[in-house]
């Protein structure tokens, strides 16, 4: 008898717990996945302000480091378990949109008469497929030449200007390199968006043809753009070697005062502004001119997963993410350059120590980030092949031509 009463008591307790758990679930919980931990504070602020208007929708921000972001997202997508909202970038846009992994936004924008006037057409085009918009533009970035004023001062080299040419950069880098002190003029990092794509545009070359079927790496002008970096390493000896830059990342070298210049993105402004060493010592100018000016432009979008269980709530949050207020937060905190053009000046204001206006000024000389359906395959391939030229194992012509051949094979399969 006592046993029976005990069993009933346990059953009642379990049911109570169950019912209360169900009761809790009345508040909708959304997951929002991002990859940049430097942007997390701004995203958190956006969520807090969103919750003032919509307390019934909880948003959990998940940060997955970039290195694992796409592999874990792809696994989630295959398992129909994507986060409700996430960041999407240009190289992966076609993959996700053509495979129906993200929600189209056109009908919802029209139905809610959502204000899109602050978005430049180039951003809207970047995240549209067959005329339908799939992503809410979030930010854009270009590349600049970050430099260390203190190292320039000790080597008595005049600071870079926005009118520098390739030659000016090379000469300065040679003068700034001091092997005894372990200081180099520039880190010739093996990076596409921050590094060689820009010199490829500046040399008049291209990465992929407009119809996305042929590789541009065998073009002699492209090879000139690549040679700019390998010469800095091997001919002018003004950069750390590929081995050294693998041991210690170029940005770590820059933040430790070991390299005087670094070609890198606008997104680093907030990082350099918070780093004790760099915040007083660095500044930035436009990239130098080769045969012409050229800068890679790119921007992220916020998207809703197609298989989300809460499309209405996710759209409500996306509307806030795309609202002028959210862009204002992104800009005023100095986090990124917002896609909403009216608030871009706020980002510049948030970084009084650096001449970050150049990032916005260079938009007129910019070229879009090269993409195709399976961008990551040939992007990784480009690193595989070019690292051999960076390491001095083969000439840059040979590496580039092998890369072009293999990239064309991959593109033919798309």
């Amino acid at each position: 008898m006592a046993q029976r009463r005990l069993s009933v008591a346990i059953l009642v307790v379990c049911l109570t717990v169950l019912v209360s758990a169900v009761g809790q679930a009345a508040a909708t919980k959304l997951t929002y996945r991002i990859w940049d931990v430097n942007q997390q504070p701004a995203m958190k602020q956006i969520v807090t302000e969103f919750n003032k208007v919509h307390p019934e929708i909880e948003v959990e921000i998940e940060v997955t480091p970039y290195r694992q972001y796409w592999t874990s997202l792809e696994t989630a997508a295959a398992g129909k378990n994507l986060p409700d909202l996430f960041w999407l970038n240009a190289p992966n846009f076609l993959l996700y949109s053509t495979n129906g992994m993200v929600l189209p936004l056109d009908k919802r924008i029209a139905k809610d008469k959502y204000d899109m006037h602050g978005y430049p057409n180039s951003m809207l085009d970047l995240y549209s497929y067959k005329g339908i918009l799939y992503g809410m533009p979030k930010d854009f970035d270009t590349i600049g030449l970050w430099y260390n004023k203190e190292l320039f001062d000790s080597a008595k080299v005049p600071y870079p200007t926005n009118n520098w040419t390739w030659d000016d950069l090379i000469q300065a880098a040679i003068k700034l390199t001091d092997a005894k002190k372990g200081v180099w003029g520039i880190a010739a990092q093996l990076d596409d968006q921050s590094g060689f794509y820009n010199t490829i545009w500046q040399a008049g070359g291209y990465v992929i043809s407009d119809d996305r079927k042929t590789s541009g790496f065998a073009d002699p002008r492209t090879i000139e753009g690549l040679r700019f970096w390998t010469d800095l390493i091997h001919k002018y000896k003004a950069s750390p070697t590929q081995a050294q830059m693998t041991d210690t990342s170029p940005i770590a070298l820059f933040e430790a005062g070991r390299v005087a210049m670094l070609s890198d993105g606008a997104w680093n402004a907030i990082r350099f502004a918070e780093n004790d060493y760099t915040k007083k010592r660095v500044d930035v100018v436009s990239l130098p001119k080769g045969k012409q000016r050229g800068v890679t432009i790119h921007g992220l979008a916020n998207v809703i997963a197609a298989n989300t269980k809460h499309p209405e709530e996710a759209w409500t949050f996306l509307k806030f993410l795309g609202s002028p207020r959210a862009h204002e937060i992104q800009a005023a905190t100095g986090t990124v350059i917002p896609a909403w053009s009216e608030y871009q000046h706020l980002w510049v204001k948030a970084h009084p120590a650096f001449n970050v206006q150049i990032f916005i000024d260079q938009v007129k000389d910019s070229f879009p980030y090269p993409v195709s359906l399976y961008t990551n395959r040939w992007a990784q391939l480009s690193f595989d092949e070019l690292t051999r030229a960076w390491a001095g194992e083969v000439s840059i012509e040979e590496a580039a031509k092998t890369l072009a051949r293999k990239m064309n094979e991959l593109l033919a399969q798309e």
């Binding site: 792809e74 295959a78 398992g79 495979n99 210690t248 395959r377 990784q380």
Partner: protein, 309 residues
């Protein structure tokens, strides 16, 4: 008149018997582990074999493609690199870690002061997270700013090499870290094997006037051979599957990547970076066959050198 329960003699009796209850409970208790094993080990194993014959598109879309993956495998230079790296890595790590572990186990079998402390010390690397191990060793090995080259420069005035980025020596640096990590694990098992050797043999040897080395090679090693056999089989299987050291310590764009990427690392690249899960499954199937073959050979050789009493 026979009733239904009579025609199956004592069926209910069997159900209530002690013996049946015994093995019924046995099955119930192992059910969770067996389910887990089946779900997370055996089923993926079977799936991998099947997937080796498929070709993948994006997001889990795959179709049968017969032997295409294996044709591609045969002519892929990366596979040859990876196989060579895995075999060299195994060939160095296993003998080194087992012999060092045996030596240390023998030393720690003695009744010296603080022996428990030393045992803990040697076992610590085994319970340290691989990610932490990778990060710390990567910093130690850093050619320009790492502790190892710093000591070499300051104390011995030698300019240390690029431990992790020089293709000629990167693999050996990984072997060093792997041996460091594996000693503890092997040591514990060998230690228990040592403690199972009856002291009678040593006493008899002492009476006959045997020296330390003779005792080691004539008594310890033969009596230890079953344990050593177990350790060598598991160590080889483990070493051939090494992935985390390459992933954590050698960057994918490192000049040393071709000289260090192992078969499982190649599997990771193909499956998750190039999104070719079919080709990756074919690679892993080849590794499975190789490990199976090596284990079979070891089992056969067992008769030659393992003493069971």
């Amino acid at each position: 008149m026979r009733s239904a329960s009579d025609s199956v003699p004592g069926f209910r009796k069997v159900l209530r018997s002690r013996k049946y209850q015994g093995w019924l409970w046995g099955y119930i208790l192992i059910l969770p582990t067996v389910l887990g094993l089946g779900l997370f080990y055996l089923w993926p194993l079977v799936q991998s074999f099947y997937l080796a014959f498929t070709r993948w598109g994006a997001f889990g879309d795959y179709r049968w493609c017969g032997l295409q993956n294996f044709e591609r495998l045969v002519s892929d230079p990366k596979i040859v690199d990876a196989l060579r790296n895995s075999l060299v890595f195994t060939g160095l790590t296993v003998p080194l870690s087992i012999s060092l572990a045996t030596l240390i186990a023998v030393l720690l079998n003695a009744k010296i002061r603080g022996v428990s402390f030393y045992r803990v010390l040697y076992f610590l690397p085994v319970v340290t997270m691989p990610a932490a191990v990778g990060i710390v060793w990567r910093w130690l090995f850093n050619a320009d700013y790492g502790a190892i080259n710093y000591v070499l420069q300051k104390v011995f005035a030698i300019r240390g090499p690029s431990w992790l980025t020089d293709p000629k020596i990167a693999l050996y640096s990984l072997v060093a870290v792997a041996v460091w990590g594996a000693i503890g694990n092997n040591m514990i098992i060998i230690l228990s094997g040592l403690q199972n050797i009856p002291t009678v043999y040593y006493e008899a040897a002492d009476i006959d006037g045997a020296g330390v080395l003779t005792k080691f090679f004539r008594i310890t090693l033969p009596m230890l051979s079953p344990t050593l056999f177990f350790v060598s089989v598991t160590a080889i299987i483990g070493a051939l599957q090494m992935f985390e050291l390459v992933y954590m310590m050698i960057g994918i764009n490192s000049p040393a990547i071709r000289a260090t990427q192992t078969v499982v690392y190649l599997f990771y690249r193909e499956a998750f970076i190039n999104m070719n899960k079919g080709y990756a499954s074919a690679i892993i199937l080849v590794l499975f066959v190789i490990i199976l073959g090596l284990t079979f050979i070891q089992l056969r050789l067992q008769r030659r050198w393992v003493h069971y009493d």
